[in-house]
């Protein structure tokens, strides 16, 4: 936790306590727990933009607090407990690894609403989960990557082997191999969401091993810098636009837009209409945005990618449409069949064609 954050939240907590004693509960207090720094330029940066949107929307009626760089695990439980004790009405916990801590703390504070991002456990009525269908964006990236690779080797920096990341790898692979059957995926797991040096190292290794497209599922812009250094490697912005690396190496991006959801849920708490739910929105409702496809992409590929985006948005096409086999060759989806959300949510297998094993 940054000293500034600590002091700011301490000051806010103090101010809040004073206000609450004077006239009860006047402001709705919304807390955010972040896994990285707000300046990571990716995942946490976008969540913090959502937080700022909540402040802009409700002005004086709302008060937001956040703690950044919170390690997944017991540390996060302590931070959430502190937030709840400080009078937060609604707490967004924004990383997969906060899943159990969120539910543990929710059990202790039944009057506080909890919203956990990218998880699936809702053990108490005051816990909701929300996530975005990032795999729809990965389909578009896969399409562009398959068309643009010359070496036919696509590098993929994985964070942790969890369903969210595996879905992305599968979706990208399916759509890359559709346009380029010779394409090969090299996956490196770095076991961190945010470590610029390690992310850059992983990108360099992939590039040295022949990859000329690098996809990342980590939070910093370090792989973009490594690709820029290499000169002829294509990348995609992850979680945020990463537009400072456009038009090349970054040729497009997946942008997480949490603001509408955060505003809607904050309003629900204010109105007293908050209810537990599981939200999983994609390109259509706007939770997943596709950053501008730059001119480095050939015009026809760009047009196809945009058509794919529209089809995913209006629901006429599903990113996981059969015929698809699992990695071991066993059939998964029949011709024309689409994957159900349950299978996707717990996805722990590669589709046929991807080499290597998923760490268990």
């Amino acid at each position: 936790m940054k000293l500034t954050t600590l002091m700011a939240s301490a000051a806010l907590a103090l101010g809040f306590a004073g206000g609450a004693i004077a006239d009860g509960h006047e402001k709705t207090k919304v807390g955010f727990v972040y896994v990285g720094p707000v300046g990571d330029g990716g995942w946490t940066y976008e969540h913090d933009k959502g937080r700022q949107a909540v402040e802009a929307e409700f002005g004086d009626k709302v008060e937001t607090v956040f703690v950044e760089n919170v390690a997944e695990g017991p540390d996060s439980e302590r931070v959430m407990t502190q937030m709840a004790l400080d009078g937060a009405d609604l707490i967004f916990t924004t990383s997969f690894g906060y899943m159990d801590p969120t539910n543990n703390v929710a059990a202790k504070f039944p009057d506080v609403k909890f919203e956990h991002a990218t998880g699936y456990k809702r053990l108490h009525p005051n816990v909701s989960t929300y996530s975005a269908r990032f795999y729809e964006g990965r389909a578009i990236q896969g399409h562009i990557a398959g068309n643009m690779t010359k070496s036919n080797i696509i590098g993929y920096i994985g964070s942790f082997p969890i369903p969210e990341v595996i879905r992305g790898i599968n979706s990208a692979y399916i759509h890359a191999s559709k346009v380029n059957p010779d394409v090969e995926f090299k996956v490196i797991w770095v076991y961190t969401w945010f470590d610029p040096a390690k992310e850059a190292d992983a990108a360099k290794v992939l590039i040295e091993q022949g990859a000329d497209v690098v996809l990342q599922h980590t939070d910093s812009t370090a792989p973009q810098a490594a690709a820029q250094e290499a000169g002829n490697v294509v990348t995609f912005g992850q979680a945020s636009d990463m537009g400072q690396y456009a038009p090349f190496p970054r040729v497009s991006s997946i942008i997480d837009d949490w603001a509408p959801y955060y505003i809607a849920r904050t309003r629900a708490v204010m109105d007293g209409t908050w209810e537990q739910k599981d939200t999983w929105d994609g390109i259509g409702p706007g939770m997943v945005g596709i950053g501008e496809i730059s001119d480095a992409v050939p015009a026809d590929v760009k047009a196809e990618a945009l058509a794919l985006k529209d089809a995913l948005a209006d629901g006429s096409y599903h990113a996981f449409t059969g015929p698809l086999n699992k990695q071991d060759g066993s059939p998964w989806l029949a011709d024309g069949e689409t994957a159900d959300d349950g299978t996707l949510a717990g996805m722990n297998f590669y589709v046929e064609g991807i080499e290597g094993e998923i760490p268990q």
Partner: protein, 306 residues
């Protein structure tokens, strides 16, 4: 599995580059601890060096000036620690932790307008025909100057501690500060100098990450390297060459495991991911089974009247 995808020359060159930030930070901390001071603020000094070096390099267009600024930045921040522990006689552990928190916050503040900017490129040291030797050239002679400076600092630290009068005095202060004081040595002055040296080295190591290894500025980008450097000093039994060995082992195996993953080697990824930590610890623990031990006054507050 496709081991042919790994280029051994590039791999070894990358190993050396990956080890350099840890090496610089650890050798600086080694000198600090040999002087009897435990500074847990390595991470904070590294990240401050990273941001100072980045800002100055971007504004002057010269990475060399950036590295000098990084060393100065780290040293200035370490002065705060020196003031707290040597003048105000505060607890070293608490002051060091505070320094890390302070450094992380300060660097985030300083670097706000530098996110997404590309720093000037650091060229390889012009070693002339040496770099053209096949195999050996790209491995040993194709690096930037900081890699060689790191090696020179290790050698210099070893020689100074072992053979010079200054090194003897520094060790005396670290082993028994009361005795050193009784002999007339300026314990606080010597320790402050050691702390500043540690800060400068940590700053250099941080700037190596922001200017060469990544190269960009991102908040919190050192991501724990400072803590690894701290642990390395202990496992290396406060000996410079072992710090070098440990840093190269750690950096090297980190690179190697990424390469093996990329090549699809059939070793479970979990084992690969933990291998740098385990191998480094095992090797250094075996080495330190001799009589080496921590400096006698390590972490103890020195008071003149004591």
């Amino acid at each position: 599995m496709d081991l042919s995808a790994i280029n051994p020359i590039l791999l070894i060159a990358a190993m050396i580059a990956a080890a350099t930030p840890i090496l610089l930070a650890a050798i600086g901390e080694l000198v600090v601890e040999r002087a009897g001071v435990l500074n847990l603020g390595v991470e904070g000094m590294m990240i401050t060096g990273a941001v100072c070096g980045f800002i100055i390099a971007v504004n002057t267009g010269s990475p060399t000036v950036g590295f000098i600024a990084a060393a100065i930045g780290g040293a200035v921040l370490s002065l705060l620690f020196a003031f707290l522990t040597q003048v105000a006689l505060a607890n070293q552990v608490a002051s060091g932790l505070a320094l890390t928190l302070f450094g992380l916050g300060l660097s985030a503040l300083m670097g706000q307008s530098y996110v997404g900017i590309k720093p000037p490129r650091t060229e390889a040291t012009p070693l002339g025909p040496l770099a053209d030797i096949p195999v050996i050239g790209p491995i040993f002679f194709g690096h930037d100057l900081v890699v060689y400076i790191g090696l020179v600092i290790v050698a210099g630290t070893w020689a100074t501690l072992k053979f010079s009068r200054a090194g003897l005095i520094l060790r005396a202060v670290g082993e028994n500060h009361d005795a050193a004081h009784a002999l007339g040595y300026k314990v606080k002055r010597i320790r402050t100098a050691a702390i500043m040296f540690g800060g400068a080295c940590a700053g250099l190591g941080g700037a190596y990450i922001s200017l060469i290894r990544v190269p960009q500025w991102t908040e919190g980008m050192t991501a724990g390297v400072g803590w690894i450097a701290l642990a390395l000093v202990v496992f290396a039994s406060w000996k410079p060459w072992r710090v070098l060995l440990g840093a190269y082992l750690f950096g090297g195996i980190t690179q190697l495991q990424l390469n093996l993953q990329g090549a699809g080697v059939a070793i479970p990824v979990e084992y690969l991911a933990m291998s740098p930590y385990i191998v480094t610890i095992i090797v250094l623990v075996i080495l330190s089974s001799d009589k080496s031990r921590a400096p006698g006054s390590l972490g103890r507050t020195f008071h003149v009247s004591g």
